[in-house]
Amino acid sequence: MLEVMHVEVFYGKMQVLWDLNLQVGVGEVVALLGANGAGKTTTLRTISGLQRPSRGCIYFGGKEITSTASHEIVAAGISHAPEGRRIFPNSTVRTNLEMGAYTRRKKHDLEKRMEECFGMFPILRGRLDQLGGTLSGGEQQMLAIARGIINGPKLLLLDEPSLGLAPLIVKKMFEIVAGIRERGITVLIVEQNVRHSLEIADKAYVLQNGRIVLSGPAYKMLAEPEIKKAYLGV
């Protein structure tokens, strides 16, 4: 479904991704793991067109999207819940959700889609008229994810959804991600929470200083000595 091939990305003169290759198959949950500054966010930003690779190409559903405009990539079916949530703070929760559904605004099924979101995130229903900036961190993250799935994407990019959340909510967040896959949405998730990620993922890649150093089925990764040592603390 998604294929990233030989991608190299620079910020000015500084190279942050080297010959990056990754594949995400239909219906999979793929985890992208790595330490701070490894280039995980940059990878997601490159996929959604916010950052341009200087080499390499990206295919989505068989079509090349390497130099496609961001808004067209969203319309093609890739949603991205970015690092730091990026809720519109001065807009209501309703407007935030409406904007999430922007690419489907002509379908006139907004109310139905909102109901579906409330099924997944009941807390948002009562918050509709509240400003995005006044939500708690956990609520903002739920809104960010709801905003990402309300337009019915084929692929959802999630950048550290569990960051800064209380342990109980973190657990819930991973249940939600698992639930998203149940609905037929493919997920590429960037996480620091390695154990939880590997438990819900089919496949994982480990980034180190801008290079993929390890990849394979998630259950194998859990047993991988390097992973255990570096990330699981056992």
């Binding site: 067109g49 990026r86 001065n90 904007m99 905003r147």
Partner: protein, 292 residues
């Protein structure tokens, strides 16, 4: 010592003037809010509206209140063209945009001097002098000024509804808050920027159309209007619509009161003093930072 009637008269003059200022500032607030650029040519868009109305009135006998619609439409398109072909290409560097708008302002002023010469121009209609008297004719309210204020109010309400209720208005509002996040929603932010620039310019030109019914115009007076628009927008908090409205009325009143104590030619000094004071002591504006 000003009398009560004198005070009311001055206040109403200030409010009438402030109403049009508010619309011009609204235009700037939208442009700044969405695109985060400084538009030095802002006052020149006001000139375009004023002279368009002048020309339509004298050449084709179009009523100024009617020509507002035409002005709005034309400048809405013109503004988008400017944004698409002059500003967007240099958008990666804000100082280039700044220089570009400055060049644009000089270019428009030059054109105005060629077409309309440096004479003072205004639009005087048959109803220009109709007025209502109050308090034994100590307070005289000009009907046309009132109509202008009503128009300003209508424009403000329409823009407000547009921003809150329509898809494209909401897109402008969220682009103003976080352009990248807006892109991730699937919004074509370049298109939104050019629509915002078109709308902001069109509102400003409408201000010119409204202003030329009550004051004389000269091709070189755009700069001072740009400065005034910035004063108001900064006073009201950069990018805030309500701030622009309240700031506009406030500057109108302050100017009117100021002219009680000094000759009218010092008016620009008043505006400029407000700008300096606000920048020094209250840089986030009277009402803090809000967004489009």
């Amino acid at each position: 010592m000003p009398t009560l009637a004198g005070f009311i008269q001055t206040l109403s003059t200030g409010i009438f003037q402030g109403g049009v200022y508010a619309i011009m500032a609204l235009g700037l607030a939208i442009i700044f809010g969405v695109m985060h650029i400084i538009n030095f040519a802002h006052g020149e868009f006001l000139l375009i509206g004023a002279y368009l109305t002048y020309w339509l009135f004298h050449a084709l006998h179009v009523d100024p209140f009617l020509s507002i619609l035409l002005t709005f439409g034309l400048v809405f398109v013109f503004g988008q063209i400017i944004q698409r072909y002059l500003l967007d290409p240099v958008r990666h560097d804000h100082s280039f945009v700044l220089v570009m708008t400055y060049a644009l302002s000089i270019f428009i002023v030059g054109l105005m001097f060629i077409f309309f010469k440096s004479e003072l121009r205004s639009v005087v209609t048959v109803y220009s002098l109709w007025s209502l008297d109050f308090m034994d004719a100590d307070v005289i309210l000009n009907l046309q000024d009132m109509a202008v204020l009503v128009m300003a109010g209508i424009f403000f309400v329409l823009v407000h509804l547009f921003m809150k209720r329509t898809w494209i208005g909401k897109c402008m509002s969220v682009c103003a808050q976080d352009e990248e996040a807006a892109q991730l929603m699937g919004i074509d932010t370049r298109l939104v920027s050019s629509l915002a620039f078109g709308l902001g310019s069109a509102l400003t030109s409408v201000t010119g159309s409204l202003m030329i019914t009550s004051q004389v115009f000269h091709p070189g007076m755009g700069g001072i209007q740009t400065l005034k628009a910035f004063t108001i927008v900064i006073l009201g908090g950069m990018g805030s619509l309500w701030g622009a409205a309240v700031g506009g009325i406030l500057v109108g009143i302050i100017e009117a009161v100021g002219t009680l104590f000094m000759p009218g030619i010092y008016k620009p000094i008043i505006g400029f003093s407000i700008l300096l004071l606000v920048l020094l002591f209250r840089p986030s504006g009277l009402f803090g930072k809000a967004s489009v």
